[in-house]
Symmetry: C2
Amino acid sequence: MTIAIVGIGLIGGSLAITLKENGFAQSIIGVDNQQENLNKALRRKIIDESASLEEAIQRSDILILAVPVDVMLEILPHVLDEIDTQVVMDVGSTKEKLLEHIQSHSNRRRFVATHPMAGTEFSGVEAAIPNLFDHKYTVICNAQDSDTAAVELVEKMYRSIPMKITYLQAKEHDIHTAYVSHISHISSFALALTVLEKEKDEDRIFELASSGFSSTVRLAKSSPDTWIPIFRQNRDNLLDVLDEHINTLSKFRSLLIKRNFEEFYQLIVEANHIKKVLK
Amino acid sequence: MTIAIVGIGLIGGSLAITLKENGFAQSIIGVDNQQENLNKALRRKIIDESASLEEAIQRSDILILAVPVDVMLEILPHVLDEIDTQVVMDVGSTKEKLLEHIQSHSNRRRFVATHPMAGTEFSGVEAAIPNLFDHKYTVICNAQDSDTAAVELVEKMYRSIPMKITYLQAKEHDIHTAYVSHISHISSFALALTVLEKEKDEDRIFELASSGFSSTVRLAKSSPDTWIPIFRQNRDNLLDVLDEHINTLSKFRSLLIKRNFEEFYQLIVEANHIKKVLK
């Protein structure tokens, strides 16, 4: 099996490492618009060779698109124009706009929309690591719109990692990810800005920052090139959850102002229920 | 050296383990108003023996108060009433109210106010672990109000762990910790409530929650018994930082509404500066 990975960054690079290591791919072709990324990936032996997108399409069995979601909107129709029996899949964080965009393409059924729920705050091929995806969930969206054989091949690929698979419609996917991923990034970016604004003395932050602070703002290191396109495409869902989050914080604020610590206590007891749903 | 630890929870229990292991303490006396905590600590050999507060005061060289900050306000004056040459220290997260409270006590100079900047989202003696404090910073507050010998003994204790030491006045301490610790907890509690409110399907959260989400809401597992007293004592500073945080989130909201992704991009570039101050 020859796999072409378009976009050799954190996600594309980590998939390349894993699929080569577990033997699912005999050969990995890397495609990237930054020659320097390809050079680094070749030096680290993350990919076997680099190629142009056109050449990669001709020579691969599966094409994995691992580019920012704004670039995805541009290149997916072009890739679908060029393929024959290949399977094309994406690994992006938003789905509704993308699937609307290619809904009527004659090769729509060769495309499988997926979203492996894994990542780190780092980006670029330098950030690619083994085991990033192990035992995590991946989402397959609108499987009914893809050929059964294409979906089965993608499932086989994810199971080889191994990842667990769950199925959602694109609309639901974008709502859920706004809640369990995108708002976490918004919150971290805001917290980092708040603290940087107030704490001009950066040495003091470094000294006093506990592991709790570090874990809460870790995601604020994430790249705007990845996240702004996600926020743009998932704007409506994000606004909905952001309103809810601001309301919750405003309720806390109001309880602090009124010194109503009894009700605040009860809200924290409720928040503690998150224990049940997180490892 | 005999050390009495009052409050055998996450912090008190972890200190007990560390100070026994590194030989700084020959003997650890545990004091706790929950007999069951003492039994667990004895079974895990975290403490050598349990005692009443009165007995522990008589028999120890250093008393470490590791109780919630509301209980601290109650017991510290009582402990200072009873001591002779012993050194008393606290490990609480707020300082201004506590130090005001004992400012005129005749034994004030035997007390050293400290705050080791370490913790986890878990609580109770079950959560006590070795190495919690290694190479982290501890703050000593208002060292000028304590006897030099008392401060030196406490410094020696922290260096034995080993921890690094920094010095602050109580007022500054409470402002800084509002920024680099307390607001992180507020933000996590709010995020957990937001997601639990919107995502009624808890299995779905579990499946879709990425490691990013988990790290952002990890602190929402924290105990209200620990945190409500901290929020109460540090209310004014917390309100200040919470206002700033809500303003930042509201700015994000406004940029999303106006689809001004260029300015949003620039704000994320600024937030990325947190890389410089975090490990």
